[in-house]
Symmetry: C2
């Protein structure tokens, strides 16, 4: 039974995880660590954590489960730092948006009988802005929480039991879980998450340059414009790590989109336009 | 005082106009005409109109104001057909999404002392699907209703008074009005309305081809994916006329977006990515 959890990174996802665990009935202790004290204090005030860790390594050692909720490169750093100080009674898990590098490192450093377990996770939930103050106990309700466990891993029985229990907490937080291969995960999220994000950033940046000096035009655009540019608010800090750890799949999806837009542009006055609308309608109909 | 209005085209905008007029306190008669009887019957049942016109020309002649709420090419057709049968006591207005061709025809056929007046209008409101059954009395609340009146027009005093009163009804329906030149209108809506639409269609069509056979992936994408593809439901019938009547401005906006996406793609691993996020953040911050 998990009764002590450490969350590293009190941003939107880390803080929401603490709040959601509480709402789901978790009665144990939750300790939080954050690079800047401010985020941790906000999370503490909001009730997402019971205390702020002054020593991260010690906090990890004193917990059964460590949830890494920092940007991806910090997750990879923590994986390096924590591997030597944790053991087979411990489980790490994460909420990082790309899983290739994290899962490879989990194979290299964890998930053997004599080591801590690592369960790579990715809740498909977020907001266009980050930060502890946006933390939300309901963030994961109705979302899909992906895992990229590797069948060949041989975890200690203790860490395997913790992994099973963590999956149960994820369900109690209101998410559905799904398991898939890390490479397939990264390819898939390039289409359904990364492409929409970088596209919205490109559109927002273009519009800033074209009509940014006429802010009244944003009103005119209404809901359609607001929705298509909402993700333009997303922070570089998060999306840089995603770009760097899933570059090829993102490049491919962007290039295909460029070609698709060019195709539509060349067919504005031909029956090809009807075909594009019909295919697009089909996507939404099945949605 | 307007006491008899004919609405041609009982789709989303025509039906919503009838409903909004009622909610705004219009006590006169509203007669509706629609190419297919079904839409007109729905609008009648919803209370958007008092009766269905069996003879469109006669209904126009018997009304003071005719609102053209059909697709753009049908608006242009009706402008041709109605010009000879209406006179200086009459006003036409429309809700078409491009204004260049409509405003040019209004100069050629209307807006002289011996002819009917024509006030070209464009409420910036809509939904991703059309149809009378989606008609909504609140559709225009908070929206901007654009007009592309031409200062040189010399309307009869009767049609000018009707145009003034129609603008008052637009305000009572909850919209703010703004006047601009038709060419500027078309250039502007290319950025804030047409570009987001064709982009969402391209994205939806691409995703249908790439992941359409894995509908469970749509769940995974969550809100971001839903929002970015919502306009993928929009009907070709409406957007064909827009593509044909604002081709150049739309081509330009799409081409610039293709270039912008390519720029981001080429900078996924460089500081150029930060710059794009910062410009995009600025667009949203001012929004």
């Amino acid at each position: 039974m998990i009764d002590r959890i450490a969350i590293f990174g009190m941003g939107l996802l880390g803080t929401s995880t603490g709040l959601a665990l509480r709402t789901a009935g978790f009665k144990g202790t939750i300790v939080g660590w954050n690079r800047s004290p401010q985020g941790a204090e906000t999370a503490l005030k909001m009730g997402a954590i019971d205390s702020i860790a002054s020593d991260a390594l010690q906090a990890a050692q004193q917990s059964q489960v460590v949830v890494l909720a920092t940007p991806i490169f910090n997750i990879l750093d923590w994986m390096e730092k924590l591997a030597p100080v944790l053991g087979p009674e411990d489980l790490l898990t994460d909420v990082g948006s790309t899983k290739g590098e994290i899962t490879a490192k989990a194979t290299a450093l964890y998930n053997r009988p004599d080591r801590a377990g690592f369960l790579p996770g990715h809740p498909m939930a977020g907001k266009e802005r980050g930060g502890a103050d946006l933390g939300d106990a309901k963030l994961f309700e109705g979302a899909v929480w992906l895992f990229t466990d590797v069948p060949a891993w041989e975890r200690s029985s203790a860490s395997e039991a913790l992994a099973k229990e963590w999956r149960e907490w994820v369900l109690k937080m209101g998410s559905r879980t799904r398991d898939l291969d890390a490479a397939r995960h990264d390819e898939m999220v390039a289409w359904v998450s990364h492409l929409p994000q970088y596209l919205s950033t490109s559109l927002s940046a273009l519009l800033q340059d074209e009509i940014g000096d006429a802010p009244e035009l944003k009103d005119v655009g209404g809901r359609a414009l607001r929705e298509m540019t909402r993700l333009g608010s997303s922070p570089y800090s998060m999306w840089r790590d995603i770009a760097l750890t899933n570059t090829k799949a993102i490049e491919l999806s962007l290039q295909k989109l460029e070609q698709r837009i060019a195709h539509l542009r060349e067919n504005l006055r031909t029956p090809g336009l009807r075909e594009e609308f019909e295919i697009a309608n089909r996507f939404r109909k099945d949605a």
